[in-house]
Symmetry: C2
Subunit: 416 residues, 2 copies
DNA sequence: TTTAGTTTGTGCGACGGCCATACAAAACCC
DNA sequence: GGGTTTTGTATGGCCGTCGCACAAACTAAA
């Protein structure tokens, strides 16, 4: 008790703190745009050319940067600089467990997808053991590719459709999978020989993906709605994922939008999820269980019918858009974000609901007159969450480059 | 364009960065609890005793710390340490403009109120010029006290009932004052001879006060509802005030809780403010304009009648509690905070609405099972916002102690 | 009273980081 | 080809923390 620090006071600094911070600054500077020379990085960051040289040297040593020929700035006087780019050798593995599929991807620091696999599987009523076994098999496939191409894995993360305690990687509750209180990160880790594994909510990771390589690139404050069966959201504040005190934040699906409405699984009444979820839309549109089974993918069926002009579907989707707009307006009034990204099944359905969302936001957002809140549509298909899982690791590499040394050592030990 | 840094990348570090960070760490450590010796600070922060000695020396030089006799740890072996405490000479001035009063306070780093004044004034339809003149007169009174007692002013901040752009200190819109787009910070500053002045929303500052010296001490994540005529909120996330992208966040009053409800001033329908605001409660309780004028203070009248068992009032307040609970549940589902603080007129009315708020939160907060969200009642009366205005400056002194040198120099120049 | 043991605060040299400066290399311009 | 400009590196200086040593001040025990 007597040794705890008051509040969340920042901890002490040190010369190594300085070094680490500057390693991050330089790396992010170079990763954040086109290739740059050392001199340009120095000018942009305020560091000296000499210091940047030293930092870059260390980052090259760590395989995080590489020199790629000359800077293309033809015509100007002076010695040309050597272009520095982010390395294509350091990669991260993303995994995803969802209701009807499993997925892997391997992505490098530059944002290129180096490997990808997506397998259908009805996980609704499977026990977690066999499902995680299959997931681990996918992961080992990815590791084989990584080894074959001589890449360096910086870490593994899993996207999960439910409430996740991000620090421990424990899945607390996933109603749509029927799982509860499962230490997914540890389970996956032990199946892969003890490599460290992280886990997080799919909506959070989808938001991360949108920020990393999606439509929200460059936006530091936005909300990413991620609707499938349930409705989740990932919230970016100040360039970082907002998780709340306990990591249970952003439960947009359980905002009350219809106080006298339908009962929700969560025990309350009139939650957004009872109107906007895939199932809810399908039900209102008169799509029965048989139809769903035949189509295998509810969203695709909805899109098909909407394209054919099915009025019941179009009306149902529009109703979802309206309710979503109301819920989002509350969220925007609270978070004052620059943009809202519609993801998951809302992407394909966007043509029939964006207008309603925009209208509701225009009317209900208090600061609409000062700061318009854009409505963007995700361009990832089902891949947002896996991509985000990889991005989780990649972002932490950029923020804390010095950790790569430790990470890659542990991997090398494992391989040898 | 070519010189902007990618995203919100942290800027470069330096040895001075280290020094400044550690000055803050040491100062906050000492300010955050009972008096401590240098050795104890060293043990708690991880710094060396030597380094702490050096840092403490500089902080004493800046008048931020002082040695107060010996550490009271009788009985233990060894040389006793010299107790270090936060100085009582550095103070901040808080100002407040509200609908029916103006206020000042002078508070020191230890949280003691050194001076305080509260004057009634109907600012509803006054032009801003005369009102700010009166406010400046109050501020000069405070400055006189500061000079007389040999204190050092670290800054001035103003609490305002409306939308404020915190960086510029500009009041964008205050419906209840009838003001819009007024550079309050600059106006007050020029009336005080050019001292730097900041301005912020009253709800934000009330939240700051609750965190600084109120019921939310030690809580890093909470929402402070601040209801008077309008309903605002200040949100603390990770130990800091959350302002959103443009500083227009936390507009809890304009969350939709009754989609088919009453029209709101803001143009939307069914906003929380139409049910929970002072006027709304009074209207439902059947308190007419004459009653209000006679009582001069609507809240006190409501409390009086509720204490006498007036059923219309009690029902109206309970209805407000219910609606507030619904709105807060949405906010808690999004922000996942540890606690909710009821402030402003909700403090006195708490006995007749806390139960309803608690119940609504219990039912509607998704994570209620894992992490109970406490409902706390503010103990500040009308003083929360002024105290918060002072706290705004005091907190920044703790976080950035080295700035005090510059600040106090500018003040000394002004005085001489 | 004396002695040993413990804790505190300070002084000194070392180490590690960045900055300023100087300098060679590699382009462009005339 | 010489002058100019820009890049990248090497060197000495400055600053801040760390580790260590030491005197001061107190407790406990002989």
């Amino acid at each position: 008790m007597s040794f705890e620090r008051a509040g969340n006071a920042p901890s002490r600094s040190d010369q190594t703190t300085v070094r680490r911070a500057n390693l991050g600054v330089v790396l992010q500077q170079i990763a954040g745009g086109e290739p740059r020379s050392r001199a340009r990085v120095a000018a942009e960051t305020g560091l000296t050319r000499g210091t940047v040289s030293s930092l870059v040297g260390e980052l090259i040593e760590l395989d995080l940067l590489r020199e790629t020929g000359e800077d293309q700035r033809s015509g100007r006087a002076g010695r040309p600089g050597l272009a520095l780019e982010v390395s294509d050798r350091v990669v991260a593995v993303g995994l995803e467990v969802n209701v009807d599929y499993l997925a892997v991807c391997v992505e490098d620091l530059a944002g290129n997808v180096r490997y990808q696999k997506h397998v259908h599987a009805d996980n609704r009523r499977s026990a977690f053991g066999p499902v995680l076994n299959r997931l681990a098999r996918l992961a080992r496939g990815a590791e084989k590719v990584i080894a074959a191409e001589g890449l360096i894995s910086a870490g593994i993360a899993v996207a999960l459709p439910g409430l996740v305690a991000a620090e421990s990687g424990r899945l607390l509750r996933a109603p749509n999978l029927g799982w509860s209180d499962i230490p997914v990160a540890d389970e996956v880790s032990s199946r892969l020989g003890g490599v460290p594994v992280r886990a997080d909510n799919e909506a959070n990771l989808a938001a991360l993906a949108e920020h990393w390589q999606g439509v929200a690139r460059g936006l530091d404050n936005f909300i990413c709605v991620f609707a499938e069966v349930g409705v989740g959201a990932g919230i970016f504040i100040g360039g970082d994922l907002f998780r709340g005190s306990h990591g249970f934040g952003a439960e947009l699906g359980h905002i009350t939008v219809a106080p006298g409405g339908l009962p929700c699984q969560c025990g309350a009444v009139g939650c957004l999820e009872t109107i906007v979820g895939q199932e809810a839309i399908a039900r209102r549109a008169g799509i029965c269980e048989d139809d769903k089974r035949r189509a295998r993918n509810v969203t695709r069926e909805l899109v098909r019918r909407a394209e054919q002009g099915d009025e019941a579907v179009i009306a149902s989707v529009a109703e979802a858009g309206h309710a979503l707009g109301i819920g989002l307006a509350s969220a925007v009034n609270l978070f004052d974000v620059d943009a809202v990204v519609l993801g998951g099944c809302l992407g394909p359905l966007a043509p029939w609901l964006v207008a309603d969302v925009r209208e509701a936001l225009g009317v209900r957002v208090l600061s609409a007159g000062w700061s318009g809140c854009e409505v963007l549509v995700s361009e990832f298909g089902e891949g947002a969450a896996v991509r985000g899982a990889a991005a989780l690791t990649l972002r932490s590499v950029l923020a804390e480059p010095w950790l790569v040394a430790e990470r890659s050592i542990s991997v090398r030990e494992r391989v040898s």
